[in-house]
Every structure is written in structure tokens, then in C-alpha cells.
Amino acid sequence: MPTSGVPTQHDVTILLARWSGGDKAALDELVPLVYVELRRLAASYLRRRPGPRPLEATSLVHEAYVQLTDQSSITFENRAQFFGLAAKLMRDILVDHARRRHAAKRGGNQLMLSLGEADRVGTKPEIDLLLLDMALKRLAETEAGYSRVVELRYFGGLTIEETAEAMHLSHATVERYWNFARAWLRRELDA
């Protein structure tokens, strides 16, 4: 089992390089590291700022990137890989959570909201993440690029610029894909 020690920046940077070199096992090692870091950041974030939070553009993914990688030796290519991976993990985390809540509701387990949580409810997006996830899967079946832009932008919190970097696409193309995917999803979700 992996040890519970904190991974060094060096580890993650090396793993990214190994992964881009075609070593698939490196990915298996990366996933838990990134996953744990995302959760750790979220937890410390919440501790710092209890109660209502403003919607912030700063994404967890960015913070995780800075925390986990050795900025002096990471390549452009590996940076893009990292964002892709982290955005996918964020999507997994969110969708899994939505699914659990969904299951809990069906089982009649009403979640008791504490005051702090109740405050936060108002800032929650009105999007049903389960439906969004399914719609994204359908979208990916026709053109993976469209859904990937959404994943990076919406789940990963990347800007148009960064998404373009991560996908090796032009700024204009990403913007086009984003506008289209958003309209398509909105129609699918009837939101």
C-alpha cells in the first residue's frame, strides 16, 4: 500500500514525465497523489474560511499544481497533463458526491443541514451534476474535444488561455468549442 507520507514535488514531476513517456503505471501512482492533494487543499481552504464563500475563480486544481510539482523542472507538456488529470479527478469527485447524495435522498435519509451549510446552499450552482455528467458523456461520443473543454473549464477551473495550452488548440477554437458545448449542454439539461 502506498505510504501515507506527503509526496515530494520531485515525485510528482517525475511521475508526470514518466507518464508522458508512455509509462501507464506512473498514472496509477499519480492519481492517488493528486486526489489526496485536492482533498487536502479543499479541507484547509474550508478551515480558513468557514461559512459563506464567494465564488472564486482560483481553482483548487491550480493550487494543487503549485503544491505538487517542482516548478523549476516541469515541462510545458507535463503541466498540461497535470491539469487534464486533475480536472478529470475533480469531475469524478463531484459526480460521485452528487450520486451519493442522490442515493441518500432516495433512501429517505434527509440530510440535516447545519447552519454553516445552510448558508452555503444559496451559492450552489443549480446544475444537476449527475445529468451534466451524462450529457457530457454523450457529447464526448460525438466529439471528445467539446466535452474536454468543459471538463477543463468547468471542473478544472482553467481559463480559456490555459485550456488552449492544455489541449494544444488555439485560443479561438477553445472559445468556439466552449460556447457551443455550453449551449448544447444547456439545451440537454433544459437549464
Partner: protein, 610 residues
Amino acid sequence: MIPPADMRRLEQLFYQAAQLGGDERAAFVSRIRESEPELGIELEALLEADAREGTFMGAPVVDAALDAIADTIHEVQPGRMLGRYTVVSPIGKGGMGEVFLAEDSQLGRKVALKLLPGRFTDSEDRLRRFVQEAKAASALNHPNIITIHEIGDADGTHFIATEFIEGRTLRGHLARGKLAASEALDIATQVAGAIEAAHKAGIVHRDIKPENIMIRRDGYAKVLDFGLAKLAQAQPAADASVDSHFSTAIMNSTKPGMVIGTPRYMSPEQARGLVTDSRTDIFSLGVVIYEMIAGRAPFSGDTSLDVAAAIIGSEPDPLSEVAPGVPSGLERIVGKAMRKDRRDRYQSMHELLADLKDLRDELAIGERREKMEKGRIPAEQPPSRGRKSRMRLVLVAVGLVFAVSAGVAVVLPYLRPPAPPATEAVAAPERSIRYSIEVQKYRNGKPYLEPIRLRDDINFEKDYRLRLYIGSSQSGYLYLLNEGPELDSGKPSYIVMFPTTANGSAFLDANRQVGIPEPEWFQFDGQSGTEKIWLVWADREVAELEALKAFSNEKDKGFVSDAGKRAGVDAFLEANTPTATTVERNETTAEATVRARGDILVHIIRLSHR
């Protein structure tokens, strides 16, 4: 579903329309509706959705993510109780859920707690079948199958509590590189043994891969997650996607056109979505063995589908090419396990296991012969197999019936640090005793591994048996006593471990190693505690200890029942314990050497177990 080409066309039209102002746009749309009616309707709907009031995905989902993560953190942060388990720390996360180290508050032991993702537990029916299967596998009580303590749920979270294994997954083990053939064979044999036992009970694993095999620090393998593959596989229709039958795939599309999952260990029939039987495990184990030897999996590809296609249609590089020098027998075994058509494979895990064992024995014999020829083994330290005949000189008889009830319970052998010398016997000659402890793992009365020499901590189980090997560079007399139950007086009682019979001699020739008991083993009584063993070497017969030989018979089973004789031993040990000793451990041979000056050397071995 819209065909991809149409989707791209739709995107183009959407983009063009977006550039236009109100009237022009309306005209554009109606032109399209005439020339391409279906796309025109779609386009109109998209434009309508886009023009709706309010924002849609206006900001990243960070805030919701914080909530989501907060919730899960809330659920399982350290200190959190789930049933009777207290979560200690996260261990890892896989496609099958998160795993935590936890403590069983009732039994005070460590457990590994795996939380099942909600999507696996939606269907009660499926969950019930999983519980049945996982428990059945655990109930086989096979040493290479992880023991499940409990499958339960607390506050809506389903969990599996299993024994906690100190070690790492085979995946982690392989991260350092490929394995030597002998180690790969050893692991493969253990895993095959576990799966064979499960197959006999009608349980197919279906997800044999390095992530599901734990390698304990003492080198022993445990197979995890019986029954889980099926549970994860049958996901609700809502989750259906290209990847849904890759039960362990955890992600996809991290790069355009790149799908990453771990279908690498699937059998062809599994990859094709056909009905599987026990032969699917044979294929998967073949893949795992290949990877242990080659350092990489036999089938690869950029996407899960490519890998699946390779599994179905292409032959892997020959093992002898990827790993030159691999025993040909091993290549043959792997080849036969990985036949595409399951009818051409080993038909049962039993056959595969038999071949693995034969090869392992063959290689071991070859290795020993090689060493002997090279004269690497010094005469005074014969290998354990060659020792028995010499020992007859020392052990006149080897009944050792008492050992069973002597109850030597052992784990972490640790040598008590030498006490400061009370008096400096400078003039006395230096004496030394070497000893080591060999352990044979048993289950249900049968040995299942070669005996091992204790080097490091080992988790003992009550079925394990042990034997001590003791030798000295000088001729002398050896006595071994084990602390028995405490007496009313508060003093310990004694159990004689050596000599083993009433007529047995305590004399030990210089450089002779005696196995105690040989060829028997001491057996553990299953109770926890610390065993205290006095090892006494003297240059002459010790009258107080010779007197104890009378109890080495079938009736007394070594237990010293005579109060006067016990008092004699008390006095003797008190006078001579501790002698000023130094202890050295040789990590390679797992031998400890105790040195002291004087004619009598007393050393205490403490063996504790949880």
C-alpha cells in the same frame, strides 16, 4: 445520437450564427432549416438555449467542489467512527473506493477499511450477492486470501473491514523494476494457490491485477477484493458509456483521443463482454506473471479500446525477448495461461498451480546444486536440508510431544539489550552462541511455504510453527527453558525445551548446530503474550538443570512440577542472569551471536506476539 460529422457541422453553423446580428441570424437559421431540416431545428434549439436568461456554467464549479470534498472529508476524517472502527489515516484510493487504516475499537487491532462508492451499492440485490461471495472467499481461511472481518454499513456508507497488511501492492512492488524469476514464481505460486481455493468454492475473482495483490514485508502475497469486480461491473444503466464494462477503468479522456483505464489484465472474453468463467482468472494471472518478469504488461495501447483490441487480437512479445534469460519453463507456463481461446488455456487453476510449483522446485534444486558446486557453503554451516542426519548424534530421540502444549507463541524476536556488566571477568575465556529461528507457516495442519528464517518483524498466526537452531564455537552443554504459567508464589514455572527427552544429552559439540526440536516444530498455543526463553550454555554439566531432564517425558510434557527443583533453577538463573553479554545480529543469515566471558552464558530470548 447525432453522428460526429453532423455534430461538427452543427458547431460550425452555431459559430456562424453567433457572429450575426438579430435579423440576419433569423434569416440564416431559416435558410438552414430549408436546406438541412434536422440540423436547422437543432441549431434553433441551441440558439434559443444560449439566449436564455441567467448564467449557465458561468463560473467553475469550485465552490460545489469544496462542498463535495468537505462532505467526504467530513465522513471519513481521522477519528471518525464507522461502526466500531475508528478511522486513523487514508491509505489509498482506487477505482473500487477509498481505503483507510482504522482501528477496531472492540478488539483493539488495526484493520483496513474500504469504503464502497455509492454507485456500487445502489442495488441491494447486487450488494447482497457481493457480500455473500466476498465472505465465502474469506471463509476459505486461505493464507493468501485477505481475511474479511466485516462487511457492513454505517450512516449509509458501506464498508469492508479486512485485516491490515503491512506491505504494499504488487503494483508498488513492481515500481522498482521487474522481478527475478524466483521471486515472481514465488508470488505467482501463492496467488495461484489463493485463486485455486476460491475456484474450488465456486468463486471467480475476475479482476486479478497487481493492484489487487498485496505483498507483505515478509514476502507473502495476499489476494484482495474477491467478489468486488462483479459488484463494480454491473453498474446502473445511467452510467453506461463506452467504458462501463471496464470495471476498473478510473478515467478517460485526459488527453484528446486518449482513454486510460486498466483493462490490461482482462481476458479476451472479458474484453469482448462475453460470459466469463474461472478461466478468465487464469488468463489474468498469466498477464500478471508476464509483467512481473518483463517489467511491463504484455498488452498495451493508447486507449482502453486499443488495449482491449490487443488482448483480443494480438500476440504479446515473447517473454524470452523482453526478459532474456527467463527460464523456458516459465515462458511456456505464461504462454499457456494467456491463450486467447480459453479452451487452449490451462483448464483449471489447479493445473497452472501444479506447473508453477514444479518449476519452482526445479529452479530451487538447480540453484542449490550450483552453490554446492561452487563451494559457497562452508562445511560448518550446512544448509538446513542437510542438517538432519547430523542432529541425530545429539538428539537421541525426538518425540517432543510436550511441545504442543508448551505453547511457544512467537512473533517479533527481539534481543534484550545486554545488561551492564556487574563484574568484569577479564581473565575468563570468551564464549559465544549463535542462534536463529526458523518459522514454518502452516494452515489447517499443512505447511504451505518453505520455512523462513526470521529477519524482521513477522505477523504470527497461531498455526505457525517454529524451530530454533543453536550452535557454539566451543563444545559445551546446552539447556533451553521456557517460562511456564506463573505460580501462586508469583514466581515463574519452567518448561524444559532442551534436552527433549529424559535420556537426552545436553552435550553439544563445537560448531554443531542443533535444531530444537528437530524434525518437529514448536507449535503456538494461540494465546497472545510474550514468551521468555532462557538459553543456557555452560562448559560443564549444570546439576540443577540436568535434574530437570526427568520432566521431559510424555506425562509431564516438560513442565517442571517439583517445587524443590524449580527453586534450584530460580537460584541458578538468579546467580547467572544476566551474564555480561554482547549480541550481534547478522542480517543476511538472520543469525544472532551472543558473546560473553565466563564458563556459563545465559541469554534470554523474548518472543512476543499480538
